[in-house]
């Protein structure tokens, strides 16, 4: 695929490569500087694998001071910088460019402090999402946002993208679960944003930095909220004859005053793919499946589930299957969280991430089907039904350039549809390079200009992750 353009690599930067590498070598230990082409190639893309660029160099700092020194150096010499966590971005947020230095935070992976009385943990940016939960789960706590890539993705990347997950209906997304960050500004200045206390006065820079896709600075540490785990959690499978029925059941559950901790939707192609991979016991004779999870004591879960089952019956549910064991629960979630990987076993795919008002669900699902058929492709739908965050997986063959182009066009049509019905281009994956050129469909020129002026308050010279988020034309 070649539809998305990168900025032309700057000849003046490429010409100074030896000088720049010599300068970087003075700032970090030799093991933290990657210069050979073979080793740099490992950083050429992320989980948006259709695009790749080998960076000028890769630095893997071990301290905030090193990050600061490297940023100050790159800023002084006007070299673009691309921050990187684990490289699991689905929107190309961590894809480098030939004239850029990648600053990878993977070596800063320590949990610095766990504080149960105040329900916070202080961690370095390169710690994985799941490592935080693993560090506190024996004591009955967890870190709430749970993107499907949580085994690999880092908290720094989560903050950069304001990641979500399956359980944010109840617990919110990353921005709702962070209290502070240590941020290195483009000139190397280190600032503390927020902290260990709630609601710092002044402008909500923490809220601004969260989801800023590495455009405002590089985070090296974070204070995250850890929450007490519920006494128990139980996912239940609800199989329906049609997607419309499933969508109506979701709306009715919320209207009845019930907010389950998760409500996940899969259509028939997604059920087939995930069941073949995870053997989770998903019903195979239905067109749409909801995984609804409730939490609490056994009695509370029984009471809430009874209400949900009653509502589902009113909306024609065909199969209801409760998890009877921890193993079944694990299998049910393994199937859902492996949806992208399992799809990758049968075809190449691009994954959309638009969000829509949930009332538009039946209409949008019908239109997605029409759009994908129009391009002669297939689609599997998995998504967070409670919050309207869709993940249509458009299947195609990466070795067929024409089909690849069609997949990209179908994806763009779907995202424009999401905006048309009152939603947005991306709910949790980020804009990156993938959706950069669609931003004008969601924002008016004055609105993009306002965002770019805010960006310029941090990085007027477009040093930080410059190929991303904002269309290349008309930049301020």
């Amino acid at each position: 695929m070649t539809a998305i353009l990168f900025p032309e690599p700057r000849a003046d930067v490429l010409a100074r490569r030896d000088f720049l590498i010599a300068g970087l070598a003075k700032l970090v230990p030799p093991a933290s500087l990657v210069t050979s082409e073979d080793e740099r190639r490992a950083f050429e893309t992320d989980a948006f694998t259709a695009y790749r660029r080998v960076p000028l160099a890769v630095v893997l700092p071990e301290t905030t001071a090193e990050v600061s020194a490297v940023l100050a150096f790159c800023h002084q010499h006007q070299v673009p910088v691309v921050p990187r966590g684990a490289g699991t971005s689905l929107c190309g947020g961590a894809i480098p460019q030939e004239d850029a230095v990648v600053i990878g935070l993977s070596k800063m992976s320590r949990i610095l402090e766990v504080n149960y009385p105040d329900r916070i943990a202080k961690v370095q940016a390169g710690v994985t999402n799941l490592a935080i939960t693993n560090a506190v789960s024996a004591d009955g706590f967890f870190y709430a946002p749970d993107p499907s890539s949580q085994l690999a993705c880092t908290i720094g990347g989560n903050i950069g993208m304001n990641s979500g997950g399956a359980h944010c209906l109840k617990y919110g997304v990353t921005t709702n679960n962070i209290l502070g960050v240590t941020l290195v500004l483009v000139d190397g200045t280190v600032v503390e944003i927020g902290g260990e206390a709630m609601d710092a006065p002044g402008y909500d820079l923490l809220g601004l930095v969260c989801g800023s896709e590495g455009q405002l600075g590089i985070m090296t540490e974070a204070v995250v909220r850890i929450l007490p785990a519920a006494e128990g959690a139980r996912p239940v499978l609800f199989g329906f004859e049609t997607s419309e029925q499933a969508g109506e059941a979701v709306a009715a559950i919320i209207a009845a005053g019930i907010v389950p901790v998760a409500m996940e939707f899969m259509d028939k192609p997604a059920i087939d793919i995930c069941e073949a991979f995870a053997k989770a016991g998903y019903p195979m004779d239905v067109e749409a499946l909801l995984i609804i999870e409730v939490e609490g004591s056994d009695a509370e879960m029984d009471a809430t589930l009874a209400k949900i089952v009653e509502i589902a019956k009113k909306h024609g549910v065909k199969r209801v299957k409760e998890s009877k064991s921890a193993m079944e629960t694990a299998a049910i979630w393994k199937g859902r969280k492996s949806a992208f990987g399992a799809t990758g076993r049968i075809a190449d795919y691009i994954c959309m991430d638009g969000t829509i008002p949930t009332g538009q669900l039946p209409y949008v699902l019908r239109r997605i089907d029409e759009i994908v058929k129009h391009y002669g492709l297939r689609v599997a739908n998995v998504f967070h039904a409670g919050d309207g965050n869709l993940h249509p997986l458009i299947l195609y063959n990466v070795n067929d350039p024409e089909e690849a182009m069609k997949a990209e066009e179908a994806g763009n049509d779907i995202l424009k549809l999401c905006v048309e019905v009152g939603g947005c281009l991306t709910g949790e994956h980020g804009v990156g390079i993938e959706k950069r050129d669609l931003m004008r469909h969601q924002f008016k020129p004055v609105e993009l200009d306002q965002q770019m002026r805010v960006r310029a308050a941090f990085d007027a010279g477009w040093i930080l992750n410059p190929a991303k988020v904002f269309p290349l034309e008309g930049r301020l």
Binding site: Y116, E192, G195, G211, P228, A251, T355, M439
Partner: protein, 396 residues
Amino acid sequence: MFTMLRPQNEDELAAIVREAEAQSAMLHVQGGGTRAGLGRPVNNGVMISTAGLSGVTLYEPAEMVISALAGTPLRVVEETLAEKGQMLPFEPMDHRAIYGTSGEPTIGGVVAANVSGPRRVVVGACRDHLIGVRFVNGRGEIIRSGGRVMKNVTGLDLVKLQAGAHGTLGILTEVTFKVLPRPETTATMLFEGLPEADAVAAMSAALGSPFEVSAAAHLPAGMGVETARTLLRFENFAASIDYRFPALAEKLKRFGAPKRIENAESEQLWLAIRDCQLLAEPRDTALWRISVKPSDAPGLAAVLRSALPEARLFLDWGGGLLWLATPASADAGAQAIRAALSGKGHATLVRAPDAIRSAVPVFQPEAAPVAALSGRIKASFDPQGLINPGRMHAGL
């Protein structure tokens, strides 16, 4: 003196701002005027009332989303939600008790000051539930950010920036929230006579338990009644509370045997805590709102009492929020309070005579590089510094 303008829609407002921009005229924004004492005092220019921008513009109970124009009375938003059994989760405080103001708080004012209440400690603040804004920036441009869906990472999050900006980054015209179902019922667990350190330990244990406490406050002895009271709120359906109450009491038994306060009495108690009614009188004292990590609260309270012998205080947010009344003389205790905090939290001077609020930083002073960033952000929205100038910091 103020001239008062009352635009009837967003376009009229944008035209007023463009006119002001051409003349470099200062604009001050007023919702219901019930929180006019919050922030640094300002006293000349053109006053823009948002009263003409009123009404709920979208409400989808099945999507848990509501939008309203900025001048909509908070009461209207809350009543609209209550009709469908829903609520604003962050329980916004009503400032009329502490300021002695009348009139109607507006939803725009709630956002501008990022106003939250006791439930904040568990569900998050106003800014956590705000998912969309429309506003007119200092260039007279109408800007949207966020929207009506609860998961949205498209572009920079200007929504969060507007929450708590006290109108200095633009004049809000419409705000959109995600909401939650109202709990069916409520009850409060009461421990009496706990010293502060034990009270905070009990609140931390409760908030760190799986028994879903929705608020935790501590009222020291002399705050309303003679005995110190530590309060833990439960919400949900009755059977759930009946299960969780004894379960938590068992977990907290080292703090004694708690009493149980039911529905109406429990609600009154939390309303008094939310609105800081306990320190509202005498009206001529200064009021501070101090945010720290809960485990620092008992030590801080002790230091403050010794530095400011006349100070009275209570704790909300499990100890994370300290309300403090001090004599409104000299700097109202600013130096002592901020020295006691020494980088561990932040103190906002919520109530004091104009002269003190002009002389003492109302909001916690920011580190130099952060203050510089704030200045550049302000300029990116309002290059001439026309909207609510000086409301948050001198020159900002």
